[in-house]
């Protein structure tokens, strides 16, 4: 058991929240794939193990660990199963509490563009399933 009280293994049916800090990361139809692209620094995509509800606790996580002085525009919610169906994985990574990483992004040796092209395709696969929670301003 992790300090947050969650199990170490992220179950397939667990919802994962990705906080969106730019309104350009989504449109009326969907969350855009770029929102799921991995960090250039650690090669992972940071998510929190939380669904759309309860909304108060979702926004509290964002406020405490992510937003800072920026503005939260929305939250993308998908399930761990949808990530794994995209040939990626989800691994718990605390602290902070409830934090996890989407890992296993493909890497093509000595070819950053091919690497990114493959990663982009996986991001499209996740984004097509993601549910957008808009944050009223």
């Amino acid at each position: 058991m992790l300090p947050s009280g969650l199990p170490e293994v992220v179950a397939d049916d667990e919802p994962l929240a990705r906080f969106l800090m730019s309104s350009s990361q989504f449109n009326a139809l969907m969350v855009k794939p770029a929102a799921y692209m991995p960090s250039a620094k650690d090669g992972n995509t940071s998510v929190f193990r939380h669904g759309a509800e309860p909304r108060e606790s979702l926004l509290e996580i964002a406020g405490t660990h992510v937003v800072g002085e920026r503005t939260l525009h929305g939250v993308a919610i998908c399930t761990a199963q949808q990530v794994r169906a995209s040939e990626l994985n989800v691994v718990a990574q605390e602290p902070p509490p409830r934090h996890a990483n989407i890992t296993g992004w493909p890497v093509v040796a000595n070819d950053p563009e091919q690497t990114k092209a493959q990663q982009k395709e996986r991001a499209l696969l996740i984004a097509q399933h993601a549910v957008l929670v808009r944050v009223p301003r």
Binding site: Q25, L29, P33, L124
Partner: protein
């Protein structure tokens, strides 16, 4: 030396063109030719304005995005600031897009690249990443079909694979489109 042309001068010139292009005012063969030429000129000016306005608006949107994502960690994590060279290349890409294609939506990526997206539906979309280099990264989803690729963007010509991909995703016919 070239001198700036005022908006009033342009409007006066256009007013004259509209007057010449007005139907029913030409009688002689020469007048009909003049009317046809004026008509073509008016159509060309109007088309240029419509296209320029559309692309100018997209470029202005991109500039706003560049400002919004100009600092480290703009995504609440460790995203790199949007790369000014990527922005310049994205502008060149949009200018070079064939006129018959719709313009993309845009967002920033964590590595500082610009993502241009053509979204028809959740499972029908094409996304192009433009970084500081000449190689464009793209991926698409078209129902159960999907894929990715890398293509070179040189001399202001959008790679045919990307043009065809956008046309297919967005259902644009007559996509044997000329480069703008």
């Amino acid at each position: 030396m070239l001198e700036p042309v005022s908006a009033v001068t342009i409007q006066l010139g256009l007013a004259a063109l509209y007057s010449l292009a007005r139907p029913g005012s030409a009688v002689s063969r020469e007048a009909q030719v003049v009317q046809q030429v004026a008509n073509d000129a008016v159509n060309s000016v109007e088309r240029s304005w419509a296209l320029f306005g559309r692309k100018a608006s997209a470029i202005s949107e991109l500039s706003a995005l560049a400002n919004e994502c100009a600092h480290e960690g703009w995504d609440g994590g460790d995203a790199r600031p949007i790369d000014p060279q990527a922005v310049s290349k994205a502008i060149a890409f949009m200018r070079a897009l064939p006129d018959s294609l719709p313009l993309p939506e845009m967002t920033a990526e964590p590595d500082g690249a610009v993502s241009l997206d053509w979204i028809r539906s959740r499972n029908r979309l094409l996304s192009v990443s433009i970084g500081a280099g000449d190689r464009l990264v793209f991926a698409w989803l078209d129902g159960s079909d999907r894929g990715h690729g890398v293509a070179r963007f040189v001399e202001g010509v959008v790679p045919a694979r990307i043009v065809d991909g956008i046309a297919a995703i967005m259902d644009v016919r007559d996509a044997a489109v000329r480069a703008a």
